[in-house]
Amino acid sequence: MLKLAALMLLLPAVVFAADGTALLKEIDRNLTPESYESYRKLINIEPNGAKREYTMFTVKKGLDRVASLFLAPASENGRSTLRLGENMWLYVPGVGKPIRITSLQSVVGGVFNNADILQLDYAAEYDVSAVDEKDGDYVLRLKAKTRTVAYDKLVITADKAGKLPKKIECMTQDGMLIKTLYFKEVKDFGGGIVRPSVIETDSPLYRGYKSVMIFAKIKKREFKDEVFTMGFMSRMAELR
């Protein structure tokens, strides 16, 4: 009898988590197809207003394979990054061989780190611990599945109608805010992809700095698995 009572008490939480997981997966799919290509511009904005821009071509396959090729500026041209789950590498044409990088490093400086630039599906890295509603938005509280994920906790505020994020707060295990991502300027990219075209971020750790990611030409595309291997990093331009 006691077991039954406990089960009944736990049941709403289990159902809630299941709904939350389904909602998170829906948000992931609304942001990008599972496999796609896109172009991005990253802008690091300094407190005095000066900017530094990077242009990248990005491809993703499935839940945990993503790779990017730097196209500009000239000093970064030909560099590529690869992520397979929690494994990340950076290829620099001059150096000639891919080296392992970690998620908290940043290959472009500014507020975005490697985990932000090589973003996987949120559902691949996080479990949903709670879902609330506030001011007509969903508020999803996420907990990292493993210790190797860059941010231990995320709070996603998502538009209820479009099921697209408006704001994501990234936190440490102790709940300290590391950075906030703001999703802006919803745009129709074609092929049924309607999503924010701009992500702004700021961080209490980098006061006065702002980094911006602008998306263009997001489209569904299938790739061979071998595209996401270290040996292919020097040949990523072939995919464009």
Binding site: L71, A72, S103, Q105, G109, I214
Partner: protein, 411 residues
């Protein structure tokens, strides 16, 4: 007149309208237009000011006459490429001009790499002059069987390749084994090519098996043929935490010809290294490596060399011997700490690099400052300070200090 002013105002409004610029942030589509050919490069201006240790063994051997106090050089790197339908052609050149105050100028043109390749699906075939860059070490690479020795003062510099033919096959899987890749190479050593890849003319081959197993990079490599003894190697690299990477490398060399003061000996040797890269919360990146090579010279052997240098009847023979090359002994520690934008100084990265001989206690300490505040430009100032007593590696180097000023612009 008013009509023209109104018309002009309308055109200005239209020109600066957000609709034309596509919102707060602009993304010019012409930036991402793909062309089958590519062209880029860099120009590097470098100046060195030398502080000689006139009592050192290496100074007596290499500079019997008055040495120059400084020099300067310009290195123009031009890279071109063509890529279409799986076919690609790549050429990378270096045109370097070095000047010294006495007017002793030198110009050199080098094809750093020049190769053609074809890839289809999982398979690729490449032929020409190229770098392979095997191994996982940052400062040392004992398993880089097909590459020139790294410049330990600047390990990330682009290197000149060798003439090779290389075939590569890659497969991906799901599960703990995610990737398997095999690279097979073949190369000749003769009077016209690859002379530093072996002592005897002949045909050679080398291969590397790569595995991504349990989130760990693992390489197994070999080299064999008519020009030098067989070699076997392995390496690994793994991310332990979100801010910690560890790596290691091991290589075994068969029939290595070791030059000694009084002749040569042939022996088997093995080299290995273990290292880590760690990023702290305050954005300091540490790279540390311990490098051990059994074929390096012992302290007794180096002592005999220093004695011979003291009484050198034939300084050229000793000056060009392996005793005077970088890291001739058995145990080294490499430590590099770099800080990203300290004190809120944008685009400023100071670093401190130490290379220490773990046997004789001598070391090189090199503080540096890099500023990249102008897009595509890099300014670097580095000072090398060498320290060690008599009969120690860094104590007997030609210089005990050097100032290096470097400017690089990419285009």
């Amino acid at each position: 007149m008013t009509k023209y002013i109104k018309g002009g105002a309308f055109l200005l409004c239209l020109f600066f309208s957000p609709a034309l610029f596509g919102g707060e942030y602009d993304f010019d589509m012409s930036e991402i237009e793909k062309k089958p050919y590519s062209f880029d490069g860099s120009i590097e201006l470098l100046s060195n000011i030398y502080g000689y240790d006139r009592d050192s063994a290496f100074f007596r051997l290499k500079y019997p006459e008055k040495p120059e106090k400084y020099d300067y050089s310009a290195d123009l790197r031009l890279n071109g490429g063509y890529e279409a339908n799986g076919f690609r052609y790549v050429v990378k050149t270096s045109t370097k001009h070095t000047s010294q105050p006495d007017g002793d100028d030198n110009s050199e043109f080098t094809f750093m790499e020049q190769y053609a390749g074809y890839s289809s699906g999982n398979f690729s075939l490449t032929a020409g002059k190229m770098t392979m860059k095997w191994g996982k070490g940052y400062a040392f690479n004992p398993a880089a069987f097909l590459d020139r020795p790294k410049n330990i003062d600047s390990p990330e510099d682009a290197m000149e390749g060798y003439q090779l033919v290389a075939a590569d096959y890659t497969r991906s899987f799901s599960g703990s084994l995610k990737t398997v890749s095999y690279t097979q190479t073949a190369y000749a050593v003769n009077d016209d090519m690859n002379q530093t890849l072996g002592t005897d003319n002949g045909l050679n081959h080398a291969g590397k098996l790569y595995l991504l197993l349990n989130d760990t990079d693992i390489d197994l490599m070999y080299s064999a043929g008519e020009s030098r003894g067989r070699r076997f190697g392995m390496d690994f690299s793994k991310n332990i935490l979100t801010n910690l990477e560890i790596h290691g490398e091991y290589a075994q060399y068969k029939d290595v010809r070791r030059q000694l003061i009084n002749g040569y000996e042939t022996t088997d040797t093995s080299n290995w290294l273990i290292g880590a890269r760690y990023l702290t919360e305050s954005d300091v990146t540490y790279i540390i490596e311990y490098f051990r090579k059994s074929g390096g010279y012992t302290q007794d052997e180096m002592d005999r060399f220093y004695q011979a240098a003291e009484n050198a009847g034939n300084p050229d023979m000793l000056a060009n011997s392996p005793y005077t090359r970088n890291n001739p002994m058995r145990s080294y520690v490499y430590l590099r700490a770099s800080v990203k934008e300290p004190f809120d100084i944008l685009y400023f990265t100071p670093a401190l690099t130490m290379t220490a001989n773990a046997e004789d206690g001598s070391f090189s300490l090199a503080p540096e400052a890099v500023w990249t505040g102008i897009t595509n430009a890099e300014f670097k100032l580095k000072i090398y300070l060498l320290s060690g007593g008599d009969n120690t590696e860094f104590g007997e180097k030609v210089m005990d200090r050097r100032l290096e000023a470097r400017f690089k612009y990419y285009f």
